[in-house]
Symmetry: C3
Subunit: 139 residues, 3 copies
């Protein structure tokens, strides 16, 4: 059984910045040399999430529109009482989307569709350096 | 350590079609003969998702209503500029719900509640043939 | 390979009750004595979910507000026809948030951020006793 842990470090801009990390994750799968198993992708921190999308400019904007509607930056958030840092909307979006994704690996490849990319969504209200834990487990 | 990969192939109708796949997933757990471990269920493609629900006709309609409200088919989506295929709403719903679910297996059974079924939600805007990767890992 | 299964039993109040279970999950990781692997947290039942949040009183209220907006208790739900128990909103919220979360473990610790706690959200419309399956897998 092989378990391989690594960390991606990414510069993000916040406000629903969508970053395609598919190639970086597949690279970790390749380096692990597993044929069968899975990969867990987990973003460290409470104002970002991981999901999949067909990565093209239109959907990048559509995701931004979706989260602006579900949890607008302009609403009053109780979180403001704790830190006064204006990112209550970032936290609730991240809780809704959640930080992790598990993708099966078969014959050394992730079982993604052709138009199904793994993306980090950074919801914070400014630039960040993000850590994404990538864990490959298998044989 | 046992790792067993299989693929379910399903005919779907789109527009938030809810398909109960619990029995098919449990069958894969049974065939793997693991006693302890977990099962990862992952839908291939960027316009569908996997979750759980008490599978009964009322909640099937309630889920359709929920996603119609969160991401209406009638809104304008930037994705339309890329493909002109009218399914921008399908993509953003799928990104929100996400394609995978991990369920622990104990004593050869998934740790689901009595009224907690595993479902595929197909958000696309027409019939599809879907592939769902099922991966059982354990001992 | 070590696979350790346990069950947390929790008293909850419903209506988006947010319960911080981070310490209980880390305790199971500690007892497993794995150094590298992951932990799957899965709530049994169809009216609750698992996610992460910076656990502080403001965000606890903000999550309640978010789900009250996305799936209000006051809307009519078709689920009411099945059981007449008034918790249609609880079910659709749980399907949206989903019951499981996978967190990588490295050097014996979950890869959580400092302000990133694992929480159970109980969406039901009254007190419950909940079971949360915790499965540690690794070496």
């Amino acid at each position: 059984m092989i378990i391989k842990n690594s960390t991606l470090r990414l510069k993000t801009e916040g406000f629903c910045h969508v970053v395609n990390i598919t190639d970086e994750v597949q690279s970790q799968v390749n380096e692990s040399e597993i044929e069968s198993g899975n990969v867990t992708v987990f973003v460290v921190g409470s104002t970002a999430g991981i999901t999949v999308v067909e990565y093209e400019p239109g959907l990048v904007k559509d995701l931004e529109d979706l989260f602006n509607k579900l949890a607008p930056p302009t609403r009053d958030y109780h979180h403001e009482q704790a830190w006064h840092d204006g990112n209550g909307f970032s936290h609730v979006r991240a809780s809704l989307l959640k930080p992790s994704l598990v993708v099966p690996v078969v014959s050394g490849k992730m079982r993604l569709g052709t138009w199904q990319q793994i993306v980090l969504l950074d919801f914070d209200n400014g630039p960040r350096t993000r850590e994404v834990a990538v864990q490959v487990m298998g044989q």
